[in-house]
């Protein structure tokens, strides 16, 4: 559905997007993850035909964005980071304008507006002036504008930014419900969001793709090294030295002592039965084991891990 090949964008001497390649299959949601300024918006703007790439190609439903921009634009619904709203208009006037701008035939405009309002739940504010709407509603109007012509591809630039938790949940559910019919690219820097709604994740930093997988796959790839929190009743230094001598423990990340307890965060190799051998060792020494738990690595960890390791490489 969307194919991006060796896409590069240069602003003067600044390389915003550096030779990225990825694909999105029909009906899938791709999460585009990265810190601010990583090149997410630039990539999306190229895919929407807003600006041409310096090098490389972007093809949407078989149409190249540079050679056939109008065909691409007809098939894309785009919501920029700030919804592009004419705040002096009422919601109804605005959606009517958007529908006509996207070349919906005059007879079908009304139906398209009703359907879009139904989907994003705007029916009770139709006659209000956009200026007077809350941020959440403005975001929904922006979303309605993007889906009004029932596009094959939806491109959403940080769709949940600035919303309250309930609105965020609603927007996420909405996006989830739009998948299947629509192919969606979504950018965000909120990790749980990707976990919840995306089928695939592309992590981008400084214009380069540093990881490309499913959300589960990314979390699993981190599980080669698992993190263990242990709380033991015993002298801190001794406990630490015993723990680090145990087979499978790679390093001690943290150690704190409190009221004769010592709590450690260990990084362990996945392959060994570290928990078993640790509890054996501690009980032999006569120290009681008060707590032991595995810290699941979240996408957050993956993200930070990848960011820091790719930075190290650059250094």
């Amino acid at each position: 559905m969307i194919e991006i090949r060796n896409l590069t964008k240069r602003y003067g001497s600044f390389l915003a997007v550096d030779d990225i390649t990825f694909e999105v299959e029909k009906g899938k949601i791709l999460g585009f993850l990265g810190p601010n300024g990583a090149g997410k918006t630039t990539t999306m703007r190229i895919v929407t035909g807003f600006m041409p790439p310096t090098k490389g190609t972007a093809v949407v439903s078989g149409f190249d964005v540079v050679d056939n921009p109008l065909d691409v634009k007809r098939r894309i619904g785009y919501m920029p980071e700030t919804p592009p709203l004419y705040v002096d208009m009422t919601v109804e006037e605005y959606l009517n304008f958007a529908a006509r701008l996207k070349q919906i035939p005059a007879k079908e405009v009304k139906g398209a507006m009703e359907l879009a309002c139904e989907k994003v739940d705007l029916n009770n504010v139709l006659s209000k002036v956009i200026k007077a709407l809350s941020k959440g509603y403005k975001q929904r109007v922006g979303l309605a504008q993007a889906i009004i012509h029932d596009p094959e591809v939806l491109i959403l630039d940080e769709p949940t930014i600035g919303l309250d938790p309930i609105q965020i949940r609603e927007v996420r559910e909405l996006i989830r419900s739009l998948a299947g019919e629509h192919t969606i690219i979504l950018s965000t820097h909120i990790l749980p969001e990707v976990d919840m709604i995306c089928d695939e994740v592309v992590i981008i930093q400084n214009g380069k793709i540093i990881a490309k997988d499913t959300p589960d796959g990314l979390s699993k790839s981190m599980k080669g090294a698992e993190r263990l929190t242990v709380v033991v009743e015993g002298p801190t230094e001794e406990v630490s030295s015993v723990a680090s001598a145990t087979e499978g423990v790679n390093s001690i990340l943290e150690s704190t002592a409190e009221n004769g307890h010592c709590s450690l965060v260990l990084e362990c190799d996945f392959k060994f039965h570290v928990r078993k051998s640790l509890s054996n060792v501690f009980s032999k020494k006569g120290w009681s084991l008060l707590e032991m738990k595995v810290k699941e690595s979240t996408l957050e960890d993956v993200f930070i891990h990848m960011m820091s390791s790719s930075e190290e490489e650059e250094v």
Binding site: Y11, T48, P80, P84, Y86, V87, M89, F97, R100, L101
Partner: protein, 260 residues
Amino acid sequence: MKNVITIFNREFRSYFSSPIAYVVIGLFLVLTGVFFYLLMSSFLQYSANLQWQAARMRQPAPPVNVNHMIIRPLFSNISVITLFVVPMITMRSFSDDKKTGTLELLLTSPVTTAQIVAGKFLAAFSLYVIMALLTWVYPLVIVFFGDPDVMPVAISYIGILGMGAASVGIGVWISSMTENQIISAMGTFVVLLFLWLVGWFANFSSGAIGGFFQYLSIVEHFDDFAKGIFDTGHLMYYLSLCGITLFLAHQSIESLRWRS
């Protein structure tokens, strides 16, 4: 064409959903009204004087020419006033879209940049046409109480519209270059003022340069229209100025895609 109409509709309505249209038209009519009143008063004073002198000499009063004394200066004044009002009409044109991000909506929709420029120009120009044609009451008053030649009035209006096309084109172009409405209005005003004053420079320079300055002056070209002379050369000047500035507006919006 449908796309141009879509853009035109939204733009044109936005003038009336904000106070801009009413303020601009109101201001324009007040200013032109003041000039009309002053011209009328001085004309009446002048003709009363003539009659009094004629009566003293026991002779019939000589005829006075309303076209020459009221209509011609009236349209010259109107043409100058439009230079002050056009920046207010065009200042939002592209600047507002650039500032609020709605330009992104337009540029990612299946419309061409040329259609966007055309829609925006036509909307601003239509407001100008409405504003300019509302001055028809002044000539009507003269027709009612006097016996002017009507043809020069019609030709003057052609000139006013031609000049409007050129100055609105300049305004749209300037607004495509900035997201700040004040800079947009100020820039347009300065360019229009320059095109007006350049006619004076022409008086102090001679030869080819003087002729060039003369040709450049937006108001100089209007003189013949005000006199009731229809010269397609002057109309061509206005239309080509309009065409060039719209082309530049198109280029400046297109270049956004390459630079941003």
